[in-house]
Symmetry: C2
Subunit: 131 residues, 2 copies
DNA sequence: ATCACTGTATGGGTTCACCCAAACAGTGGC
DNA sequence: GCCACTGTTTGGGTGAACCCATACAGTGAT
């Protein structure tokens, strides 16, 4: 399988899964329409509870990267993926600029994270919802 | 006093205090060398536990904005304040640009926070080497 | 209908952030 | 020493995040 996690890294398991699936999609290892491993199958493979996989897949679905159909499986979304990957990469670049700038100024990491969070809270959300 | 908090806003009390002290310093309401309200005094005023104030002051000290001397009080740091305020404001602007960009692209808040966190983890801290 | 797969929902245990009450400890004036 | 201030430390309660075990529910082939 294409997933490998580290249960003792402090990073929640379901987030590790989310991150790796995301990369697999971004890298093309998972193409639109492809089916992800089944909840039970993947859970058995990495010796985790199926609910944990569900949580990871739910988050991916909430972000529009995958679609799940009850009884059939979970699939990589068709259209929006490219846009999202692009968008993410743009945001990543912006984030990197931000971090580099902060580092040069000697601003602590926690500080940077806090500032971003504050900014997210401050700016009105507008209408965002998945689907 | 110059502090006003909202215990039911979801934002931790100690973080509200930190933010407001920070602004007071940035705006000049608190100058280098000034003494902050005592832990007990401030706690009594806003009907909170002294420990909560301590946590806020500790965070401010950790960021180099204030210095505390046991038995005497907590004081605004002398030198570094200006630089830090400036740095923070710069980072804030960068963060705002980042958020605005992310919003326009339809990237979810959690996603943005995650990207920033990932970037912080990815870029080496020590200030040596550039990826 | 049954079977073997798929995802979904519920309830419990562990861990951690946040806040509190109360006891501990330093400073300086009397 | 005593006292009235200052910051510090310890232990506990509440709630949320994370993970789990287990039972519930949809799909499609037989």
């Amino acid at each position: 399988m294409f997933l490998r996690i580290d249960p003792s890294s402090g990073v929640p398991i379901y987030r590790q899964i989310v991150a790796q699936v995301r990369r697999s999609i971004a890298s093309g290892a998972l193409a639109p329409g492809d089916r992800l491993p089944s909840v039970r199958g993947l859970a058995g493979e990495m010796k985790v509870n199926p609910t944990t996989i569900v949580k990871a897949y739910s988050e991916l679905e909430h972000d529009g990267l995958v679609e799940t159909r009850h009884g059939m499986g979970t699939f990589v979304s068709a259209e929006r993926v490219d846009r999202r990957v692009e968008a993410r990469s743009i945001v990543e670049q912006a984030a990197e600029r931000l971090v580099v700038e902060a580092r040069q100024l000697g601003v602590a990491d926690e500080e940077v994270a806090r500032i971003v969070q504050d900014t997210l809270n401050r700016v009105p959300k507008g209408g965002r919802d998945g689907s």
